[in-house]
């Protein structure tokens, strides 16, 4: 079967799947998979930090590039768990903004610390990001699908950073990646300034 025929078949099959009409989805309600996907990508401060983690992993190479995508969702979900059960974690907004600054800086400087230091740094920031998401999660009709969307979007943001980081293998790519790190650093600085303002 040719690729075009296969694509057409899949689109037709998708269109034929029965779907419940949801005419009035309340904004912010945890109503299903797509609202869960939307949550992590709706805040730029979260997005730049998570993408930067992927880029840094690509710069660090093996085993960090494999270790980070396995551990990061777990640490972040633990933060989300703490946020959901109401454990107080003061200063999370400042820590999130600071994560953009720090992760942008390490990508800019192509920092190569020991693996445990990199994992600890990413883990601590992941905890705060997860906490902020967990504390904000609204009640809704389908927590499982919402959480699945949330975790998937988080992982894909990370994967996006790793995909961008693939350019690290070329000399021009290394410079471009450091430039992207500088952009993340600037974004983080802006959010840090906003957090204090």
């Amino acid at each position: 079967m040719r690729a075009r025929q296969f694509l057409f078949l899949m689109i037709a099959a998708s269109a034929l799947i029965p779907e419940t009409a949801a005419a009035h989805i309340v904004k912010g309600e945890a109503i299903g998979f797509l609202s869960g996907v939307e949550h992590p990508i709706s805040g730029l401060d979260h997005v730049i930090a998570m993408v930067a983690v992927g880029m840094w992993g690509a710069q660090l190479g093996r085993p960090a590039i494999w270790l980070l995508p396995v551990t990061f969702p777990l640490v972040m979900a633990f933060g989300g768990f703490l946020g959901l059960i109401g454990v107080p974690l003061p200063g999370s907004e400042i820590a999130i903004a600071l994560s953009g600054v720090c992760l942008g800086a390490v990508v800019l400087l192509e920092s190569q610390p020991p693996l445990w230091v990199a994992a600890a740094l990413v883990g601590v920031f992941g905890l705060f990001h997860g906490y902020a998401h967990g504390a904000e999660l609204p009640p809704g009709q389908n927590a499982l699908l919402y959480s699945a969307g949330f975790v998937l979007a988080t992982g894909l943001l990370h994967a996006t950073g790793i995909a961008i980081g693939v350019v690290h293998r070329w000399p021009w790519g290394r410079v471009a990646l450091r430039g992207a790190g500088a952009a993340v650093l600037c974004g983080g600085a802006f959010f840090l300034w906003s957090a204090f303002a």
């Binding site: 079967m1 690729a3 296969f6 899949m10 099959a13 998708s14 799947i17 779907e19 419940t20 949801a22 299903g32 998979f33 797509l34 494999w66 995508p69 396995v70 551990t71 969702p73 777990l74 972040m76 979900a77 633990f78 989300g80 768990f81 703490l82 946020g83 959901l84 059960i85 109401g86 967990g134 999660l137 009640p139 009709q141 389908n142 927590a143 499982l144 699908l145 959480s147 699945a148 949330f150 975790v151 998937l152 988080t154 992982g155």
Partner: protein, 203 residues
């Protein structure tokens, strides 16, 4: 072609769908009702896929043990729910979230456990989901057929998913499978938080 089919199947699975907490009626009989219930219940098929990935990475012996345990456990759980007692949604919710966490953690760490232990994990998963899916139903032939439909779906999904990881040799493919484990474990943690905050959420 194999990857296209896998991608297409994954895309279909990820389509948002309204939750149906109780047995759905397809109009095609109780066996198909059970199959459709399984297909519409991520709390049923997600841990099965992850257990299958994990047992596939541990080898064909572990995969066989897990498959056997899963089927026997699911049937036993369903029959106990119908014949003996219904377990509270609070308990099955917490047990399901814990299973997400443990099975996801096992796959994420690619933890070296014996084939027998993998079989026990499969039996536990089957037992919990069988108890949850048939909770509140009295014994009857249609409900038993529904249970068989669910169990058969679990058998097929497990076999297909395990067959994907059994032959894996490349490191990045194994890591991709392990990442799916860490995502399920993360999901389990979030579900536990949801349960603490809002009460039982998965039946």
């Amino acid at each position: 072609m194999k990857w296209r089919a896998a991608f297409g199947a994954a895309a279909l699975v990820l389509l948002p769908e309204a939750a149906q907490a109780h047995l759905v009626i397809t109009g095609m009989g109780p066996v198909y009702d059970g199959m459709l219930h399984f297909g519409l219940s991520p709390e049923d098929y997600l841990p099965i896929v992850v257990l299958a990935f994990f047992s596939g990475l541990r080898g064909s012996s572990a995969a066989r043990m897990a498959l056997g345990g899963l089927v026997v456990g699911w049937l036993a759980g369903g029959l106990v729910a119908m014949y003996v007692t219904s377990v509270s949604p609070e308990l099955t919710s917490v047990a399901t979230a814990m299973l997400f966490l443990v099975l996801g953690g096992l796959l994420a760490s690619n933890f070296a456990v014996s084939a027998r232990a993998v079989g026990v994990a499969g039996a536990l998963l089957g037992l919990v989901r069988g108890l949850a899916d048939l909770a509140g139903t009295a014994f009857s032939v249609p409900h038993t057929l529904t249970l068989i439909g669910m169990t058969a779906s679990g058998f097929v999904v497990f076999s297909l998913a395990a067959s994907l990881t059994l032959p894996l040799k490349r490191a990045w493919l194994i890591v991709a499978a392990r990442v799916s484990g860490s995502w399920l474990a993360a999901l389990g943690l979030l579900l536990l938080g949801w349960i603490v905050r809002y009460g039982p959420i998965v039946g």
